[in-house]
C-alpha cells in the first residue's frame, strides 16, 4: 500500500475522534471509578424498597462498598428480595443490618450497611434479614396527621380542666 499525504491527516482525524471518546469516557462518565473487582452476592429482604433501582450504591460509613445487582418480588412472604454485589475486599459481620437511606432531601436512595458485632462474616449467598425499609413520604405524612389528630382529640378533651 502506497503512503500518501492523506495518511497523516486521516490518522490525525481518527486520533482526534478517539481522544474525544476517551474524554467523554474518562472526564464525563468517570470510567476509572468503575472497578472490575470481584464481588460476592448477598440477598436481603425489605418490606418496602421505595425508589431503589438496580446499580445503586451500597455504602458503609459513606464509602461505596458494592452495588445493588437485582431486585425481585418474593410472593411467598410478599417482600422485596434485593441482591447486593459486595466487593470481595470488604467483609462484614453476619449480623450487619441494612437501611435504605436517601442522600439529601430529594437525592438518590442508597443502601447503608451498619456493621454488627458477630465474629463470623457474611459469605456469598447469605441472607440479611435485619433491614429497615425505605421511608415513604406518604406514610410519614399520614402518620403525622393521625398523631396530630389524636393529639388534637386528647387536648380538646383535656382543655376543660385548664383555664
Amino acid at each position: 500500500m502506497q503512503r500518501s499525504n492523506n495518511d497523516i491527516w486521516v490518522g490525525l482525524f481518527v486520533l482526534i475522534g478517539a481522544a474525544a471518546l476517551l474524554f467523554l469516557a474518562l472526564q464525563s462518565a468517570n470510567l476509572l471509578s468503575l472497578n472490575f473487582q470481584k464481588t460476592y452476592a448477598v440477598t436481603a429482604r425489605f418490606d418496602n424498597i421505595g425508589g431503589l433501582k438496580p446499580q445503586t450504591a451500597v455504602k458503609s460509613a459513606g464509602v461505596v462498598v458494592g452495588r445493588v445487582e437485582s431486585i425481585t418480588f418474593d410472593d411467598k412472604n410478599f417482600q422485596a428480595s434485593v441482591t447486593l454485589a459486595l466487593q470481595n475486599r470488604y467483609s462484614f459481620p453476619k449480623d450487619s443490618s441494612l437501611k435504605i437511606l436517601t442522600s439529601g432531601l430529594l437525592g438518590e436512595q442508597y443502601i447503608g450497611i451498619e456493621a454488627g458485632a458477630e465474629e463470623k462474616t457474611l459469605q456469598a449467598g447469605d441472607t440479611i434479614t435485619a433491614t429497615q425499609s425505605a421511608v415513604v413520604l406518604e406514610n410519614l405524612i399520614s402518620q403525622f396527621l393521625y398523631s396530630k389528630a389524636a393529639e388534637g382529640g386528647s387536648s380538646t378533651a383535656g382543655t376543660p380542666t385548664k383555664k
Binding site: S4, F13, A18, A20, L21, Q27, S28, A29
Partner: protein, 260 residues
C-alpha cells in the same frame, strides 16, 4: 394523470416495491461483498479523509455553540430550582445521549451526504459507472463500498468530537462565565453519566446514523436520473430522506435503549 385509476395505483405500488427491492439489494451488496473493500484500505482512507477531515471544522464549531446554548438555557432553568450545580450533568447527558449523535448526523448529511450523492450521480450521468462495468470492474465494490464504510467509520468519531466539544462549551459558559462551581460541574457529571448506558448507547446510535446517512446518500446518487436535473433532485432528496430517517430512527433507538 389520474392516480386513482386502479392500473396507475398498481403501477405506482409495483415501482415502489421495485425501488425498495433494489435498495435492499444494494445494501446487502455494500455490507456483504463490499466489506472486502476494507482490505484495500487506501480507497477507504481517501474517503475518510474527504468525509471526516473536511467535516471536522463544521462539527466542532457547531458542537461548541450547541454547548454554549445548552449551558445558558440549562442554567436559566436549573437556577429557578436552585440546582445550577447540576448544569454539567444536564449538558453532558443531553449531548452524549441525544444531541451529539443526532445533530452530528444531520450536519453530516448536509455536509458529506450531499457531496456523495452529487459525485455518484454525476459519475452515472457521465457514464463513468457504465464504463467501469464495461471493464469488468464492479462499481458497487470499487466506488460505493469504500464510501459507505468510510461514512460508517467517520460518523461515530464526528459525533464523539461534537459531544466532547459541546461539553467544553457548556463548561466555558457555565463555569467561566456564569460562575457555577467547577467541582460540582464535573462531579455531578461524573456521578450521573454512565459509560456503557449513556456514552456507549450514544456511540451505537451514531454508528446506526452513519450507516443510514451514507447509505441514503449513495442510494440516491446511484438511483438518480442521469441528467443535471435528476442529480440535483437526488441531492435534495438525500438531505430530506436522510434527516427524516435519522430523526425517526432516533426515536426508535431511544425508546429501545433508554426505556428499559
Amino acid at each position: 394523470m389520474s392516480w386513482w385509476r386502479p392500473a396507475d395505483v398498481g403501477f405506482a405500488v409495483r415501482s415502489k416495491l421495485g425501488d425498495i427491492g433494489s435498495a435492499a439489494r444494494l445494501f446487502v451488496q455494500l455490507v456483504g461483498p463490499g466489506a472486502k473493500s476494507l482490505r484495500r484500505f487506501g480507497l477507504v482512507r481517501d474517503q475518510i479523509h474527504f468525509l471526516g477531515n473536511y467535516s471536522l471544522a463544521i462539527i466542532a464549531v457547531s458542537g461548541l455553540f450547541v454547548g454554549f446554548v445548552l449551558g445558558l438555557q440549562g442554567y436559566y432553568t436549573l437556577q429557578r430550582y436552585g440546582s445550577s450545580e447540576a448544569l454539567g450533568l444536564l449538558v453532558a447527558l443531553s449531548l452524549v445521549r441525544e444531541l451529539g449523535p443526532v445533530v452530528a448526523a444531520l450536519l453530516f448529511a448536509g455536509r458529506a451526504g450531499t457531496s456523495l450523492t452529487a459525485e455518484i450521480g454525476l459519475m452515472k450521468a457521465g457514464e463513468q459507472l457504465s464504463a467501469m462495468e464495461m471493464m469488468a470492474v464492479d462499481p458497487v465494490r470499487r466506488i460505493l463500498a469504500p464510501r459507505f464504510w468510510a461514512g460508517v467509520i467517520t460518523m461515530p468519531l464526528l459525533a464523539a468530537v461534537f459531544s466532547a466539544v459541546g461539553v467544553i462549551g457548556g463548561y466555558v459558559v457555565g463555569v467561566v462565565m456564569l460562575g457555577v462551581d467547577t467541582g460540582a460541574f464535573w462531579g455531578q457529571m461524573q456521578n450521573g453519566v454512565d459509560v456503557w448506558r449513556d456514552v456507549g448507547n450514544g456511540v451505537v446510535k451514531s454508528i446506526v446514523f452513519g450507516v443510514t446517512v451514507t447509505f441514503v446518500a449513495l442510494l440516491q446518487g446511484f438511483a438518480a436520473q442521469p441528467t443535471p436535473e435528476g442529480v440535483s433532485r437526488a441531492t435534495t432528496r438525500t438531505v430530506v430522506v436522510a434527516s427524516l430517517a435519522v430523526l425517526g430512527l432516533d426515536f426508535l433507538l431511544t425508546a429501545m435503549m433508554f426505556s428499559i
